[in-house]
């Protein structure tokens, strides 16, 4: 299993991505300076509430964002390594032409949509939807081979081949989502973007599908960008997580690090918004207020009106993403919070010791058994 400790080389680098909705005077900034790196085989979680820009980011980097979305800056470098090849070719997806983009799409970068109900063409049979991209991207395949591949793909996600001639409306919700995943993996891409792939499903079905997905990932080695509002699920699932708020990435780090020692007050608030399944029942408060609308963002740090630790500075200056003072060692943590800059006294909740050993095997990562602080905290 690829863990954040020994990551592969980068496969997707997003640099300073900016996205607007609308052009000219009416434009609303939806994403500001998003910078993220996805490594080969990594599961990168993108968490945030509605309107935080997580889906916008995902669709913008694939240039699938609908009108009136416009990309207004940045780079998306895709280190493409076509199947069976050892050489890596770097494509800037934002500078790529139609044809260049078309070649990368699905064969190396595929997407699983939130609602398979809407993402599958209602008037086409499953087999047609599983093979149309083979016709385009694998021109040498015969009809017979395509059919075999379709059967193989369905089997891979636990669906029998007699469903091949079904229409989407004849399948259950879970099955449709499985078909969608099979479709995404048809060309063995290096990166799969998943936009809330299991949100619409029941908890048991969700768990089944996620299990299968993780097994497939281990077997096929693709990297995943997993978008969800359910941070509690993401912590179990992802290697590393980026938290978004009002169009900016506010914290980034390993999944377990983030959970056990959040550095941004918003992350802390989110973690404390999920009631626990175990232990004492204690009253939790969540985060006061509600997420801002992109059309009327507060000045300074967009989170400051809801932040219990807000400083004067927070309402004036926008914090940049940088290594928190609470982590001086070599972890890949970043947070966009003035509390985490030099010279600040970090509140205790935001200065919990970062475990040097993380990511630990799951059995040792429980909250109570965190390693002792390594002395880096003031």
């Amino acid at each position: 299993m690829t863990a954040s400790g020994h990551l592969g080389e980068p496969v997707l680098e997003i640099r300073d991505l900016c996205v607007d909705y609308g052009v000219g005077k009416k434009a609303v900034r939806a994403i500001t300076d998003a910078t993220l790196t996805l490594h080969r085989g990594e599961v990168l979680g993108l968490a945030g509430e509605s309107g935080s820009g997580k889906s916008t980011l995902a669709y913008a980097l694939t240039r699938l964002l609908r009108a009136p979305g416009v990309i207004t800056g940045g780079q998306v470098l895709f280190h493409s390594r076509p199947q069976g090849s050892d050489t890596t070719r770097t494509v800037d997806l934002l500078a790529a032409g139609v044809e260049e983009l078309r070649v990368v799409r699905w064969s190396e970068l595929s997407v699983v949509f939130q609602s398979a109900m809407h993402a599958l063409n209602p008037v086409a049979r499953i087999d047609a939807q599983l093979t149309d991209m083979l016709k385009v991207h694998r021109r040498k395949m015969t009809a017979e081979q395509r059919k075999e591949r379709a059967i193989e793909l369905l089997r891979m996600v636990g669906i029998t081949s007699d469903r091949l001639l079904s229409y989407p409306h004849e399948l259950s919700g879970g099955m449709r989502q499985r078909v969608m995943i099979a479709m995404a993996l048809a060309l063995e891409p290096q990166v799969v973007l998943m936009d809330e792939p299991t949100t619409a499903l029941d908890v048991v079905t969700q768990r089944e599908i996620l299990e299968e997905l993780m097994q497939l990932r281990q077997r096929l080695g693709f990297a995943v960008i997993f978008i969800t509002h359910d941070l509690s699920l993401l912590i179990e699932l992802a290697d590393s997580i980026a938290i978004m708020y009002a169009g900016r990435i506010v914290e980034r780090g390993g999944a377990q690090e983030l959970f056990h020692s959040p550095r941004h007050p918003y992350t802390l608030g989110l973690i404390n918004s999920f009631p626990a399944l175990h232990g004492e029942k204690v009253r939790m408060e969540g985060i006061p207020g509600s997420p801002p609308a992109l059309t009327s963002l507060p000045g300074g740090c967009a989170f400051h009106p809801r932040c219990t630790f807000a400083l004067d500075r927070c309402s004036e200056e926008i914090p940049v993403l940088q290594r928190p003072v609470a982590d001086s060692d070599g972890t890949e943590r970043t947070a966009a919070c003035w509390l985490q800059t030099d010279g600040q006294t970090v509140p205790q909740q935001l200065a919990l010791p970062a475990s040097a050993k993380l990511p630990a095997p799951r059995g040792e990562a429980a909250g109570a058994e965190l390693p002792e602080p390594d002395g880096s905290i003031k």
Binding site: E236, F274, L277, H278, E285, S290, P291, R362, A365
Partner: protein, 355 residues
């Protein structure tokens, strides 16, 4: 093996155990929806013989997957749909079904719906939404109306009320809308508040605010609250008692923490094993697979048996009664019956209760 003890078992009433008459009691509620098939008529067994007591000042959570009948149960309790059989008792008195009695009932029992974006009508202001139930049920004087409506907003922590009362739904955030929806429910001065997934459409960071509001109302207004949800963690957080539904039936009920800490029914165990849990220390081991059954033609015996890792011969034949599982916890599972519990294979025992 073949002599089930069901027939003689007394009716089990789920819900928090409190002395006195419960605010609302449902007895043997059953709802079968007719489906028109090409040949013959069949029914969807949506809710099957459920007895439930909601004492004042308590929260009862109903947990289940979609299609488990939990929303139907809530609507049966509002009399929005008429049960196939069974009866409702408000403060111990049977509830009539005449149009007049139904209207009187609407002032006692209120339902808060899932989607705050569609449960308020976009063409009406917050004031309209709050004043309608007041006019319908409390008939206050002209001067009183405004003050009452504003006090409702204050009660759901939308203050100062002046800032909200003349707004339209599209000017409010999801959490604020859900608070208005709850305030509208309080306007009728109900004894019972039914909340059908009240937070599942809300942003994560504001869910707790609404749940805490429900808890405050339970405490402050002594409401009997039914909290319908698919999220077992939030059920544990808010509720005194958790009732787990599967395929139209109650499979397990008991005190909230007891249910989540030591689930007795294999389905509850499955739900818990599937729930997201960031502090989980071991990889997930799903207990059972597959999908819920068709409710048109539900499985014989225990409806969970096709998915149950512990299914025995008796499970296919006879539906298990609600059997005691320690304390106030009951579970409808043959594993708990001394007549049927497997004695040989230790690994076949559902772990939690006996450990």
């Amino acid at each position: 093996m073949t002599t089930p003890t069901t027939e003689t078992t007394p009716r089990v009433v789920h819900g928090p155990k409190r002395p006195g008459t419960p605010a609302l009691e449902a007895r043997n509620l059953t709802k079968h929806f007719p489906v028109h098939q090409f040949r013959g008529r069949q029914v969807v067994h949506a809710v099957e013989d459920i007895s439930l007591a909601l004492p004042e000042g308590t929260v009862t959570a109903v947990v289940g997957e979609s299609g488990s009948g939990k929303s139907t149960l809530a609507r049966l309790l509002t009399q929005l749909i008429t049960p196939t059989s069974g009866e409702l008792l408000l403060d111990g008195k049977p509830v009539g079904t005449s149009a007049r009695e139904r209207r009187a009932y609407t002032s006692q029992v209120h339902l808060v719906l899932q989607d705050p974006f569609s449960s308020l009508n976009g063409v009406h202001s917050v004031r309209y939404h709050l004043e309608r139930p007041l006019k319908l049920h409390r008939k206050p004087g002209r001067g009183e109306l405004d003050a009452l409506a504003k006090s409702l907003l204050e009660r759901v922590a939308l203050s100062p009320a002046e800032n909200y009362i003349d707004k339209f739904p599209h000017e409010l955030s999801g959490g604020q809308r859900q608070r208005v929806a709850i305030a509208r429910g309080l306007a009728v001065q109900p004894r019972v508040l039914l909340a059908d997934e009240p937070v599942s459409m809300l942003d994560v960071s504001i869910r707790l605010g609404v749940l805490n509001l429900l808890d405050d109302l339970r405490e402050r207004e002594r409401l009997a609250i039914l909290y319908v949800t698919h999220d077992i963690a939030s059920a544990r957080y808010l509720a005194d008692t958790v009732v787990v539904m599967y395929a139209g039936q109650v499979v397990e009920s008991g005190p909230a923490t007891q249910i989540t800490d030591s689930p007795a029914h294999p389905y509850t165990q499955l739900l818990l094993s599937a729930a997201p849990d960031p502090s989980r220390t071991e990889p997930v081991e799903l207990r059972g697979r597959g999908a819920p059954p068709s409710l048109v033609d539900p499985p014989s015996g225990c409806r969970f048996h096709p998915r149950c890792p512990f299914a025995m011969a008796v499970c296919k034949e006879t539906a298990p009664p609600a059997l005691p599982a320690g304390g106030d916890q009951v579970a409808a599972c043959w594993l708990l019956s001394p007549d049927h519990a497997p004695t040989t294979a230790a690994d076949a025992t559902p772990s939690a209760t006996d450990e």
